[in-house]
Subunit: 242 residues, 2 copies
DNA sequence: TCAAGTTGTCTAGTATCATAGACAACTTGA
DNA sequence: TCAAGTTGTCTATGATACTAGACAACTTGA
């Protein structure tokens, strides 16, 4: 276990805290168990004991661990049960993206097409769009936040329609579109920004899976494009092939 | 665009650097394009110009941007597109993008099957395996590190064969397997550990795409299973559908 | 009871982070 | 040619991060 020696822009105490949190998340430190002593952790990460204490303090503040004077520091929280593991298919998560009635509208606002968005939607750069920010949950655990763009010309008032229907499928039906399919899907990963971290209830610096996708109608005409950010520690995509 | 105000353990310059990098990754700043001036970026993120310069310096060091005195700072790199199909080969993808693919053996050693590995490969827990650690590059830039497991019984001496052939496809041909296809693929994301970060020439704390996959022969019999870690900032998976 | 091991708290010094301002060196377009 | 706008470099200051050492307060088990 070696940390960054050159300046990485991530504080040492944060790296230690993340390391311990990962240990809790993947079961190396089980719930209720005693963590190694502060001195031992300090030696493991080759940092000062005060640095370890700072790391443990942030974890304690978030309720992950509990320190007992004279005794030790104990793991408080159990890993959340994530039902979206083995049974879930990529097509159901991403293909159904935003179509589940579980979604929650955060914000809808006007936007204009960047060159990228215009190309995805088959519009001209600067074309008026409606941008919808939404979050989806499973068992009250936030799974992903999405930003969806639709053409204002094609779907006037889409923000309000989405707010009432809370479903992208129903929204499209409202505009006379009964069937559509996935056009392209691109997947990469990034670190959650402050806003996404807050909405996903994630610690800062935690990774998210970023999925860019565009849905098209049966003729292949682009309808909506969106960017979803999934909490990587809560999700696993399964690609079907063969 | 708001940054963490309370102490998050992530330096401001790093948050700015990540923000700009994300802009490059998602196309808000296209390759070759000029970034906003340092003053403008500083105002956007509400930080000092020196902080922006520090952020840009790290991006320049990694080859993502290039500063020109008196003129501006320009976007240098684009992400490599990596299509996910049932028959994709690393060499074909990289070669198709006009880059030169290279594979490099890091280590080959004996291992035994955990329950997970045994299930993937259709073996019994504890069965002898050969574990191969390798890294793949495109034009001298490391793209991914992989850990590959093969049955020792089925592929005796596989480590040495791989060392000479430097290609999984050629290794399988050596054992009389002419064709194979992708069985399952699971994708998630994580933070690079110290070893992977070093091999991928990544800063610590940077995200990787973790791909677990198993290749099967034409009968569906599992041949090899592997876990690959892709540098998320250099790659984008493209799922083809419809 | 007592020694060993634990967390809690204090002081102090050095390095890095972030801000602020000024000016030099250079490019671009009018 | 010249003004406006750009990046490059310098000095300076305060806040935060990290290390170091010491000791108090407390728990545990022999």
């Amino acid at each position: 276990m070696t940390l960054q020696e050159t300046s990485s822009g991530v504080a040492l105490w944060r790296q230690v805290a993340d390391g311990i949190e990962r240990g809790i998340a993947d079961g190396r430190f089980a719930a209720g168990e005693k963590l190694p002593g502060e001195m031992e952790i300090a030696e493991t990460y080759r940092v000062n004991r005060h640095t370890v204490r700072r790391a443990l303090a942030t974890l304690a503040e978030r309720g992950l661990v509990r320190a007992e004077r004279g005794s030790g520091t104990y793991v408080e929280a159990a890993k959340l049960a994530y039902p979206l593991r083995s049974r879930t298919r990529f097509s159901e998560i991403v293909g159904a993206g935003g179509h589940e009635p579980r979604g929650q509208l955060i914000d809808a606002s006007d936007d204009v097409a960047t060159r990228e968005l215009a190309r995805e939607l088959g519009l001209k750069t600067g074309a008026p769009l409606i941008r919808i920010e939404s979050v989806r949950l499973a068992d009250r655990t936030p799974i992903c936040v999405s930003t969806t763009w639709l053409s204002t010309t094609r779907f006037p008032d889409a923000g309000r329609v989405f707010a009432t229907t809370r479903s992208m499928t129903k929204l499209l039906v409202h505009y006379g579109i009964r069937d559509y399919r996935r056009g392209t899907t691109k997947i990469t990963a990034a670190i959650a920004d402050a806003a996404d971290a807050a909405r996903l209830d994630l610690a800062l610096g935690r990774p998210v899976l970023v999925v860019d996708s565009t849905d098209v109608d049966t003729d292949g005409t682009p309808l909506v494009t969106k960017r979803s950010r999934f909490a990587a520690e809560r999700i696993e995509f399964v690609v079907e092939s063969g």
